[in-house]
């Protein structure tokens, strides 16, 4: 160890630095983003997502001619929306893929946010610096979400660009709006799973446990939830023969509402409405409501009104998870 001169240089006058917390927040976000970008994890996820996207785009491009020329379909004029939703049955369209890739992305980016730092002994070092605890989890959340946002907007823009190049058809402003809203919605959906996995990373000490817990929740909602709800409702609802039509509709509505407790259902409801302008309602409609309706696409604002509850539901669930992780983390004792 050498002389202390290097340390004392300029220390006689203690330099005043404004260590304001927003600066610390920016520093943490910067570091987290850099970490994510350099990690193998993100590269793998990126590869997976890009492959899916290219696959879906390829399938839809090869079927786009028949989809657009189908005059029965009121949405046939929206070429770019068709690009995202058309399929020949060999592969699900992109937005359905996202329904289960989104959670994977969110979980993978967040499941070890806090506990890996704790296990490595870096968390206590970090907490000994003038950084607010909530800033840390917020930074973890925001940095992952920034990446996801960039990723989806890039994909969507690529899709529009590719569509322009290949088909040469001018894109309608309303399509741009719908596609961008779809991208925002996807980011919110991933954000929900991200905040859930951050919550688990605070609650569980082992990274493997938190990953498993998050994947468990995801599997439950994608696979078992529907089965369970159908089973329970099937057991409780009287036989169809003795039900009037309004009762039946009521029960159907109830079933749908229960299913909507699952975030994936909210997401698929919302994306379907956004990408298929002719969808006017997400529940069953009575004959009276249908009467006189012309099968035509809804304007963008109307579609947005239809999905508004879904969108706010997803945002609310995200905030709930985040608030709870905040609560847990504020009171947590950190020791290595």
């Amino acid at each position: 160890m050498k002389s202390l001169a290097v340390f004392s240089k300029g220390t006689s006058i203690k330099s005043k630095h404004s260590a304001d917390p927003s600066n610390a927040f920016r520093v943490v976000v910067g570091k987290e983003v850099a970490d994510h970008i350099r990690s193998w994890r993100l590269i793998l996820l990126l590869a997976l997502l890009v492959l899916t996207f290219l696959g879906a785009l390829y399938v839809s491009l090869s079927n786009i001619r028949s989809a657009v020329s189908n005059t029965q379909d009121p949405d046939s004029t929206f070429l770019y929306l068709k690009l995202l939703t058309t399929t020949d049955g060999t592969m699900p369209p992109f937005h359905v893929f996202l329904n289960f890739l989104g959670p994977l992305l969110g979980i993978a980016l967040g499941f070890d946010a806090i506990n890996s730092e704790q296990n490595n002994g870096t968390l206590i070092r970090l907490m000994a610096q003038p950084v607010y605890r909530d800033n840390l989890i917020l930074a973890k959340f925001v940095s992952a979400l920034m990446l996801v946002g960039t990723l989806f907007f890039t994909l969507v823009l690529l899709m529009i660009g590719a569509g322009l190049c290949i088909t040469g058809v001018w894109i309608e402003p309303v399509e741009v709006l719908r596609i961008f809203t779809f991208a925002i919605l996807t980011v919110v959906y991933v954000g929900f799973w991200l905040s859930l996995s951050v919550l688990f990373s605070i609650a569980f000490k082992q990274t493997a446990t938190s990953a498993l817990a998050a994947i468990g929740v995801w599997l439950f909602f994608t696979v078992f939830y529907q089965i369970v709800v159908n089973l329970v409702v099937g057991a409780l609802v009287p036989r169809q023969a003795i039900l009037t039509e309004t009762d039946l509709a009521g029960y159907n509505e109830m079933l749908l509402n229960i299913l909507r407790l699952a975030p994936s259902q909210l997401f698929s409801d919302a994306t379907t409405t956004l990408l298929m302008p002719s969808v006017r309602s997400l529940g069953p409609m009575t004959m009276e409501q249908m009467a006189g309706a012309i099968p035509s696409p809804l304007p963008f604002t109307e579609s947005l009104m239809v999905v508004w509850p879904q969108l706010s539901g997803l945002i609310a669930a995200t905030f709930l998870c985040f608030a709870y992780s905040y609560y847990l983390f504020m009171r947590k004792e950190i020791r290595s």
Partner: protein
Amino acid sequence: MENPVIDLKGLTKCYGSLKAVDDLNLKIEKGEIFGLLGPNGAGKTTTILMMLGLTEPTSGKALVCGIDATTHPILVKRKVGYMPDSIGFYESMTALENLVYTGKLNGIPGNEAHQRALDLMDLVGLGDSAHKRTSVFSRGMKQRLGLAEVLIKRPEVIILDEPTLGIDPAGVKEFLGLIRELRREQGLTVLLSSHHLHQVQMVCDRVGIFAAGKMQMEGNIHKLSQTLFAEDSYSVSITVREPLPALWEHSDELREIRDVRELRITENLVQIACTSDVTPDIVRFFVAKGLDVMGVHKREFGLDEIYQKYFDNNLIENNTDEKSRSIFKRYLNKK
């Protein structure tokens, strides 16, 4: 002590029914090096965490630089550098990047943080490894890097939790020398916790002996040994050729000798504590019993004995035990 840098008032921390820290009062003045000594699980780390506001005390107050660490942890963290006992760094980043990151978190602009980090790495002897990833660092190197990290924010107080763990003896000497020098040049206040007595002995102005959540004693080492061993100030170790049984038949007889207070037999080593120098009597006793005395060693008490005395008492006997209580009371009254 009008203006202590660290002032703990009746600090208590309970984990369920376990009292990890029990009504701790401690004052450390500016420019002092204070050693917190204690066995594992004595509550040293918990106390330190409370000083940094990383855990909430059940009752009592921790004031650091006059700021309440529980209610204003951020202000405290700006002034205090803390090095945890098991230190970790971001392994995907180089040592330099790790330091710069910490510097930036403390509001130091990028260029300056970079310069300071390089200077400090030189200072702690890691100048050549600045651009290596910390995943290849040995424990000792991480410890040095930890010290550099503590210093990068130019703190007023540094708290080191087991700082010498995992450093080789030469490194320890350098490390402690550096701490002493920092104190002299910067007027830093240093609190270090350890269970390595000799190291603490080398640098600390005062030590506090901490066991079972309580500060058993504090003061400088010389005073400590004087007050503690006023009665048993001599210790004689006798090595005999043949190992003795644990329940030696003559042990009671040996205790009868004037001023002999305690006796401990481990195989062929007999340790005898006495209040006056009765070495000749003891040797005569052994010779009379027909034992082959191989060596006689007389010594005065040092920190080892202080440590042993306190910690053995506390580990074996619960601190609710009346006997050990009365011993402490006696010592504390004397002091």
